[in-house]
Symmetry: C2
């Protein structure tokens, strides 16, 4: 492991310790791994956690869950789960689930191509990812359009450029102009070439996952046997709630877990649609589905790194439309952390909202999501920057707005320094009643770095702001994102590695890529 990190570091060359390389015009915080100093908030009493846990076990024992893949049914049966003959229905004794989950690590490191960007996942650690999986992209100039490769690559560049975005959470936008059979090859090559941060592979069947693992192996310069040494790739596995896990997802779990790569199981429990119209019911079902998926990963390979995903939100009961960043969403995000910690595994949440444009609603729903995630002590925050419209659109302006909000939260997580020097009694004595601190030595010493300096927020007075054109935060974000792209230079990549990856992608493309998932 240490050797691997050293090799990777050497490969990056001398320039890589400068975080935010190629973002000359952007005044941002340096790359930093985050750790929360706060006690997680508790929206559930210990008794309520116990009630939900007990009910979730009851679901797994009595109702069971469908695993739509014969290999999964074999593994589950061998591990002691009760597979209903001639059916995909699997029931789990709670003892069996607990035993399987006991092997899941409480914390692990997700490695990136650049070891500076390795991420500890678990405990009080917090990492933010980019937006992922949006079918559309938008900005103020071009409006909303179906995802394409150019937008896809530009979002990767932003993900690389903004230090507060710690990992690539998936395809920020789905490049539908690329053929579905080979899209994963082009996209993953871009992840390696345009970023040096940790990234994601979609669990859309065995072939795509194996291709992704090979690209990681080549990209990290590893031998076959070294690949399973450490987590270097992650996949988000969504259950088809209620209580079903589809075949392509199952193949992802199996191939990833076998090689010690990260599986995050996230039930899609929209309360009122795919789960009961109560938070208690939705959380119970989320817990049952997550436990079943995580236990399955441990049955595939005890000790494989896993993440408990919470995504419970509610629908608008009048229209059935999904809503995010709602009070229910926020409480579910906090409760989800309690349930994940009850199992002793890292916790995933999101920065979600249902706004149709980058306005006040987009900001306040996102804040509700981010605070829910952080107060719930989420370790792994998907869709951190750029998500709009309940995930149907990746917005370039929202990316910048989110990056600002995440930077602010990273500062909220910075422990407060209280010391004789920081209190500055001498300065208070010196200034005295009725004075001011602008010119005090205590102030001048701290002038440069005393406070958070924003990338996007405009604190000028109204008149100056108006004279300068009365730009909204969204209009400013538009300028910022275009400047960052203009300044972008990709992170260094060993030419031999680039060639090996390119060769692989060419060969697999010539072979026709992957089957439809």
């Amino acid at each position: 492991m240490a050797r691997d990190a050293e090799r990777r570091r050497a490969r990056q060359g001398a320039g890589t310790r400068v975080a935010g390389r190629g973002t000359a015009g952007l005044k941002q915080l340096p790359w930093r791994r985050l750790e929360s100093p706060y006690q997680p908030l508790e929206v559930l009493s210990p008794e309520q956690v116990e009630m939900i846990s007990d009910a979730a076990f009851q679901i797994l024992e009595e109702v069971g869950m469908d695993f739509l893949h014969p290999e999964a049914l074999e593994i589950l049966a061998e591990s002691g789960a009760e597979v209903e003959p001639g059916s995909a229905r699997v029931r789990f004794d709670r003892g069996l689930v607990k035993q399987a989950l006991a092997s899941a690590p409480a914390q692990f490191t997700l490695h990136a191509r650049n070891p500076e960007h390795d991420l500890p996942i678990g405990g009080r650690h917090v990492a933010f990812g980019s937006v992922a999986s949006a079918p559309n992209a938008s900005d103020l100039d071009g409006g909303r359009r179906p995802g394409n490769q150019r937008d896809y690559q530009n979002f990767l560049r932003l993900t690389q450029a903004f230090n507060i975005v710690h990992f690539v959470a998936g395809y920020p936008v789905e490049p539908v102009d690329l053929h579905p059979a080979t899209r994963h090859l082009d996209c993953l090559r871009d992840c390696l070439a345009l970023t040096d941060k940790a990234f994601h592979a979609y669990a859309l069947g065995r072939t795509r996952i194996l291709d992704a693992l090979e690209i990681v192996r080549l990209g990290f310069g590893l031998t076959e046997s070294e690949l399973a040494d450490a987590p270097r790739l992650f996949t988000i596995v969504n259950t088809s709630s209620p209580l079903r896990l589809d075949g392509p997802m199952i193949e992802g779990v199996i191939e990833m877990a076998r090689r010690n790569q990260v599986v995050a199981v996230t039930p899609f429990t929209l309360s009122g649609a795919m789960s009961p119209a109560t938070l208690a019911g939705a959380l119970t079902q989320q817990h049952a589905e997550a436990m079943a998926g995580l236990a399955f990963a441990q049955m595939v390979n005890p000790g494989a790194p896993v993440i408990y995903g919470g995504f419970t939100s509610n629908v608008d009961m009048k229209s059935g439309a999904p809503a995010f960043g709602t009070p229910e969403y926020t409480r579910a995000a906090i409760a989800g952390g309690q349930l994940a910690r009850d199992l002793g595994v890292p916790y995933r949440s999101s920065n979600a909202n249902a706004a149709n444009c980058v306005d006040g609603q987009a900001a306040y729903e996102s804040q509700m999501s981010i605070w829910g995630a952080l107060m719930g002590q989420a370790n792994f925050i998907m869709h951190g920057a750029g998500w709009l419209e309940g995930g149907l659109c990746a917005s370039f302006e929202k990316f910048v707005l989110d990056a600002e909000m995440l930077q602010m939260m990273s500062e909220v997580m910075t422990p407060l320094e209280v010391s004789e020097a920081s209190i500055g009694l001498d300065a208070i004595r010196e200034v005295g009643p009725g004075g001011h601190f602008f010119g005090a030595a205590h102030t001048l010493e701290r002038y440069e770095s005393a406070f958070y300096s924003p990338m996007l927020s405009d604190w000028r007075n109204f008149e100056t702001w108006q004279e300068a054109g009365s730009e909204t935060a969204t209009q400013r974000a538009n300028r910022v994102y275009k400047q960052v792209l203009a300044d972008f230079t990709p992170p260094p990549l060993d030419p031999a590695i680039r060639e090996a990856v390119d060769d692989f992608v060419l060969r697999r493309t010539a072979e026709g890529g992957a089957e439809a998932a």
Copy 2:
């Protein structure tokens, strides 16, 4: 007290139990007193609280604070504080401060003209106020303009109409078209006539406070001796940081505390300008100034209801411009709660931001402030709805946006119901793997009230939203606020009381009102 409430209730007539009266078009949550179920967040360790407390005492002992009023110096000297001869400088022994603060109540009720709107202040209770004291008003139609009576009255109407706004925090906007000598008379009469919620009087000298108390006495139908029975008026006393309390403010403290009315002492410790350029230093100075002011109020009248105000934020070190809703602000809001609880008194915070228009920045800075306030367990939240531009503007659209955010937070504070019925195992059994919950009996029973229903957020899909005109949250807020005003009918007021108040205002106006403060 109980008799007083009964009388007030009788006076309101039959209609007053219907909350949100005169807001037919607005679908909002019912009036509700809020209580947080959460353990307050701690940004300071117990040792850090102790260090700040100790340093704050040192300031009061060694540097002291200026009290710019002879009557205050007399009271302070009589109470044992050390008044520097021939000067306004007062030094306090820490034992004296602790002894004075020991008589401050940990909780009290702030009464409103309508007893349904009485507010418990302290403990885990939370109350939100309107915007206060902005010199300008704005909306999308009329743009930004100096405050005037029409806008002032309209903000009072919104404050009355929105159930989530619990009290009138001051003049939402300063009506500069009213003569300064009599402005307080017109404004306070409007507070009584257009709202039946608790309200504020400015501590701008003795005369204005005494006029306000008389309007309260007449408005509540009390005798002179009954006025001091219970808290029915509050005043915000800002120190002139660093370490100074001005004469008009001091007169406010004296007259209010003497009559058991509420004094909230809020140091204006902008870090880097009026306090050291460190959070530790700013909080220490805030604590010193607040303790001195609160102790003084207790020396005037032991047991008088007081509130510890936290308003520490930072300036932009490049321009000196004040910033709000920053990471520093949020951490200071949380820390302030710890310091207030260390003294055992209720805690005041704010919903602040420095945005120049109702955009994403306005929303995210406000969210940072609101979360800071609630995680810090603030009891009394000033500027809850409508604040913009660091307090230089009251915005009608921001009022609605804030009301939506506050409603959402009130739902986040609603304890989660976990029971056999709410978990709904039978529904999960009935629906089973692969089904959906839209038609389940468990869902249909909860259809109407399952989830928070927004006033402002738009959850329609992009296409529908676009066809309907692509309105931003700010544009929708504009429609909402105008509809609420169109629907508004003032709360009932006994004609005899109205006449008595009008007579008083007429008489005092004829007398020339108050001196310049």
